[in-house]
């Protein structure tokens, strides 16, 4: 996408809060937030081709850390955010180390990430100091120093900033040699190793960056929704939400995750509105599943590359 087009898009996004009502604003906040998480995942999953279905664990670690620091030691979440992200990165490093050192690829790596996320979930559910299964409830004070805002628009801009940050990181990676290495690893790791590329190092780097960013998201989640429950923030449903956006939108592309979020978040909301009236449970997840299957079968590269080809031809 040309830089001019990008600037226009960003300008539009910046201007939106002026025209949207609170409900629509909330939806956009979620689009941007999930887009951010999607982009963070994309660095590991899309560019490097290491499918992680346990990214929720990083959200959880990030969120819980800053919530606990704020509640017990009155440390402002602005700082706690980075501590949380740091811890998430440590967890990512551990998973990465174990996975990559022991040569786990593809399906086995997926299982490893799922297992770790579930282990975290169960552990946190059983640690009373972290609120156990009940979770942590954050007091609403509206105090900006505590990462809370009386005005929703601030949340919007923060979510936007996060998404732009992740996209910028991904763009940076894409252009540098680092990104090229990652793509090469994704396409044919064996060949890379044969050529003497230190695949372990690059995979680890991607993992750490990805988990750090995701961890930042955890704090946003905690201080936007005011509660953390292990089943929600560490659970597989959140991991699915995180991975489905880049996959449908286009894994390994810069705009794919964002497009994915713009498509799927409103879709989920609409399907909830529509099916919720008739009491059909979990309908939006059926849609997710069908979309996933269709994309894999017909559009394996995702929506964004397909659209780009379409428009380029036109």
């Amino acid at each position: 996408m040309k830089p001019a087009a990008l600037l226009v898009a960003v300008a539009v996004l910046l201007a939106l809060p002026a025209v949207l009502n609170a409900y629509a604003l909330t939806i956009f906040i979620l689009i941007l937030f999930y887009g951010f998480l999607a982009q963070a995942w994309n660095i590991l999953g899309g560019y490097t081709g290491q499918l992680s279905v346990g990214h929720a664990a990083f959200v959880g670690v990030g969120g819980y850390t800053s919530a606990v620091l704020a509640a017990n030691w009155a440390i402002t979440p602005w700082l706690g955010m980075f501590v949380g992200a740091g811890l998430a990165a440590v967890l990512g490093a551990i998973i990465g180390y174990l996975g990559f050192r022991f040569g786990l690829r593809g399906f086995y790596f997926v299982l490893l990430t799922v297992a770790f996320a579930e282990v975290c979930r169960i552990l946190v559910s059983n640690i009373d100091a972290l609120g156990g299964a009940l979770g942590l409830y954050i007091t609403f004070t509206g105090n900006p120093r505590q990462f809370q805002f009386q005005d929703q628009r601030v949340y919007y801009y923060i979510a936007l900033a996060l998404m732009l940050l992740a996209t910028a990181v991904a763009a940076l990676i894409e252009r540098r040699r680092f990104g090229i290495y990652l793509t090469a690893i994704r396409e044919d790791e064996g060949a890379c190793e044969a050529l003497g590329v230190d695949t372990f190092r690059y995979k680890m780097l991607a993992m750490v960056v990805s988990s750090f960013l995701t961890g930042l998201g955890g704090t946003f989640y905690a201080f936007y929704l005011f509660s953390l429950q292990p089943n929600t923030v560490f659970g597989i449903p959140l991991s699915v939400e995180i991975i489905i956006r880049p996959i449908i939108g286009g894994a390994g592309t810069l705009l794919g995750p964002i497009l994915g979020s713009f498509i799927l978040t409103p879709l989920a909301e609409l399907s909830r509105q529509y099916f919720g009236q008739s009491g059909l449970h979990g309908a939006h997840l059926i849609v997710y599943g069908l979309l996933l299957v269709s994309v894999v079968l017909f559009l394996p590269q995702g929506a964004y590359p397909y659209l780009r080809r379409l428009f380029n031809r036109a």
């Binding site: 786990l104 282990v119 059926i286």
Partner: protein, 268 residues
């Protein structure tokens, strides 16, 4: 249950993420049969197996077939999508509340000296052994079975000898699904199930198959025994709520130490 998964992987190198959710459908099918026509699950499991066989073939022909050569990630995502659809379709059709089938057998206990044996579990165990033996006989003694094993070992070789690989794949997937259908029906009277049970069943299946070794029938069976014993022991010695932790921890350990499992062939 695990035997079905290992069969699918062994033959097509496709990991069926939807395994647990298929089993849940097997359970619901048994539930419907039990409540609508009063057919006891210990009898209806044959029907459930047949129905899931058809489902398996359909999934294989319609979906998996197209991506057999595609990179692993695509297969994983495809089956994940199928799992999502199955689970939430069950949710939409049957609702989120747990369902349970009442079978006469499920209420009996048998006194054997100082022990109380749960008759339902005993029957399930026996039937499972019988079915596994039947499957083993099928794979090792029949023509189709031999073809399936041949395709698993060497797809190109199988093609060379004129085997209709697509049909074989369909059969394998179907049988794998049938196993899980039977398992579902047999277990339904013992285990209250909800649409969300699919995930834990999938994880348990993976645990077993990885420990026992992907692609090995014997491994799946032994793995099943090992995992259940380990989980029960874990429940006795650890805080019961950490039981789940134990099985995941075990999975991580096995993944790191011996991804090929005890009896499996090294992944190509």
């Amino acid at each position: 249950m695990a035997v079905g998964l290992t069969l699918i992987f062994g033959v097509m190198r496709v990991v069926n993420f939807a395994h647990g959710d298929m089993m849940v459908w097997g359970m619901y099918l048994a539930f419907v049969l039990a409540t609508r026509i009063g057919l006891d699950p210990y009898l209806s499991f044959v029907l459930c197996a047949a129905a899931l066989f058809l489902l398996g073939v359909a999934v294989q022909r319609g979906l998996v077939d197209r991506i057999v050569d595609a990179p692993h990630e695509m297969q994983i995502l495809l089956m994940l999508g199928v799992a999502l659809v199955l689970e939430n379709l069950a949710l939409a059709v049957f609702g989120p509340e747990p369902a349970r089938i009442r079978s006469l057998l499920a209420r009996l206990t048998w006194e054997v000296g100082p022990l109380y044996v749960d008759v339902a579990r005993l029957v399930t165990f026996v039937v499972a052994i019988v079915l596994t033996l039947a499957l083993w006989l099928f794979l090792f003694r029949t023509e189709l079975g031999r073809l399936i094993r041949a395709s698993a070992d060497n797809p190109y070789g199988a093609l060379v000898i004129g085997a209709d690989v697509r049909r074989i794949y369909a059969a394998a997937f179907g049988i794998g699904a049938a196993c899980v259908g039977a398992a579902g029906a047999l277990v339904a009277p013992i285990l209250p199930f909800q649409p969300t049970t699919g995930l834990s069943l999938s994880v348990t299946s993976f645990n077993i198959v990885i420990i026992g070794g992907m692609g090995s029938l014997v491994g799946a069976f032994i793995g099943g025994l090992l995992v259940s014993v380990a989980e029960s022991l874990g429940a006795v010695f650890l805080k019961p709520s950490l039981k789940e932790l134990f099985s995941f921890g075990l999975l991580i350990l096995i993944l790191l130490l011996r991804p090929a499992g005890l009896f499996g062939k090294r992944a190509t």
